[in-house]
């Protein structure tokens, strides 16, 4: 149980060491990622330049959502961002090499590329979070603090599940890699805003099918002690960890099915 984690640590550690070797380049990259990720927040600010509220949400509340979505996404990108290039790996046959080794294929693909600079986006999210929490007056209870801590890994798991599922499409379609963008960057974008602004069918999709609503929206309602504008049952606000677990199971199953298909339909 522990050994795969230790191995992952080694695999990732070797890459971190190699990236840190080029101090200047790395720092610039990190800083660049940090700055550029602010563009999305600028968009939020531009919107609120024109209106006082988005739906029932104030700018600080949206900033809160935005920050948590950013942080969760950044960590997801950090760990499994390599999946962006998965279609390419399938196309040029490098996935086969993974199958000749005595470890799980997803584990290997994910551990093979770890770009530390992606933390720049998490740092940006962190700053926005500080602003949001300072501006909002959260009634901090133990429960709320726990929720704040738990929602990030839960968010990462949900985002990862969506991303892995999207990446599986690369097994079936040759250039379908681009479909994943709708899930990954689309998912990030979706989660930055309160889902009550989206039309009814899209909202339902985001709650029950691709559960991105559980990355920030529901936990945020609890933390901010906000009345759910959608009037959904309160229990949903505590369901992120469960949803994350379910999402992981679904994604894992789809992935295994996809690998099975790859192994019978031909590399």
């Amino acid at each position: 149980m522990v050994e795969p984690v230790v191995l992952w640590g080694r695999l990732v550690g070797a890459q971190i060491r190699s990236q840190l070797q080029y101090r200047v380049s790395f720092t610039l990259d990190l800083f660049g990622t940090f700055l550029i990720s602010f563009i999305d927040f600028l968009a939020v600010l531009v919107i609120f330049h024109n209106v006082p509220r988005l739906g029932t949400w104030s700018v600080q509340e949206v900033a809160f959502l935005y920050a948590l979505s950013s942080i969760s996404f950044a960590f997801t990108d950090l760990v499994i961002g390599h999946l962006d290039q998965f279609p390419q790996k399938i196309r040029d046959g490098s996935f086969d090499i993974v199958l000749v080794r005595p470890r799980g294929p997803l584990y290997q693909v994910v551990a093979s590329d770890f770009q530390l600079r992606r933390l720049g986006k998490a740092a940006q999210g962190g700053l926005v979070l500080v602003y949001a929490l300072a501006a909002l007056h959260v009634d901090w209870t133990v429960g709320r603090i726990a929720m704040l801590i738990v929602m990030i890994p839960a968010g990462v798991i949900i985002f990862s599940s969506v991303w892995v599922t999207g990446a599986c499409l690369a097994f079936w379609t040759t250039d379908g890699g681009e479909f994943t963008n709708a899930f990954t960057y689309g998912g990030n974008f979706m989660a930055q805003y309160p889902i009550d602004v989206y039309g009814p069918w899209l909202r339902r999709f985001l709650c029950y099918i691709v559960p991105l609503g559980f990355v920030c929206y529901f936990p945020a309602l609890y933390i901010l002690d906000k009345r759910d504008p959608l009037g959904l049952p309160r229990v949903l606000q505590f369901s992120s960890p469960l949803v994350a677990a379910l999402a992981a199971v679904v994604a894992g199953t789809i992935w295994r099915g996809a690998v099975r298909h790859y192994r019978s339909a031909g590399g």
């Binding site: 070797a14 890459q15 046959g93 490098s94 000749v100 005595p102 470890r103 019978s264 031909g266």
Partner: protein
Amino acid sequence: MIEVEHLSKHFVVRRGRFRRERHVVEAVHDISFRVERGELLGYLGPNGAGKSTTIKMLTGILVPSSGRVSVAGLDPSRRRVELAKRIGAMFGQRVQLWWDLPLIDSFELLRHIYRVPEHRYRSSLERFREVLDLDPFLHTPVRQLSLGQRIRGELTASMLHEPELLFLDEPTIGLDVVAKQRVRDFLVEINRERGVTVLLTTHDLGDIERLCDRLLVIDHGSLIWDGRIEELKERYGAERTLIVDLEEPAPPLAIDGAVVERVDGPRQWLRFRGPAAELTARVAAAARLVDLQIGEPDIEEIVRRIYAGERVRD
């Protein structure tokens, strides 16, 4: 070590952009063979013949459509992870090392991936460093290595966990003569000294000539030859070539039992069967010789004939 019985693999290919015209492609059709422990065999075939597909089925990458495969006593498609610990694979044109990391880091990581005990790893690495002369570039990032260096690194990587069986897909492709020789020496050593079974896919006939005891030839999905190289030469190479250098250029010699294949100035190539002595006497009688050589049947020639569809003569 390897047992293959009536192995087949077909693919459903969809032609056209979005339209679904199904074609069934028989990549591998009913092939059977056995490989004993310790053999060094070559696997030859034109492109698209089914070589990679076979290898993929042997290594567990691909699941067969029908037939039985057993590698080291295991079914590759069912016991992939277990088998992976006992086999090594190297694909000449694909990189299995970590691109941005120093070579030694790749070795260390693989050691952990395969869970090789430290002392075994150290002694293996020691040997490979010596045999393949890895020290000059052991700490260089893989992306900065020359092809020859990278191949040596890849070979080491594939052997670090002391596999019983090694699959090599075009290991010498693109290498210069010296590098090729080094690789071949290495393969001979691990096969003869360590008893590692080696299955070598290659287009390089020099590899075949120098390394392989036995040859499997596949074409259009079917196994068309399985046997020792000497046998191959005998069956196909019943004809040999006598190369004569005459004192001066002359029209093609008319000699009984020989056919002039080629003329280049004073040199002529005569194809013949049977003992050379008699023919040589006849040639000497017919023209003034300066020198002569007897060319053994060239593997390349034989393989070319096989590919061209000449049936094996019984």
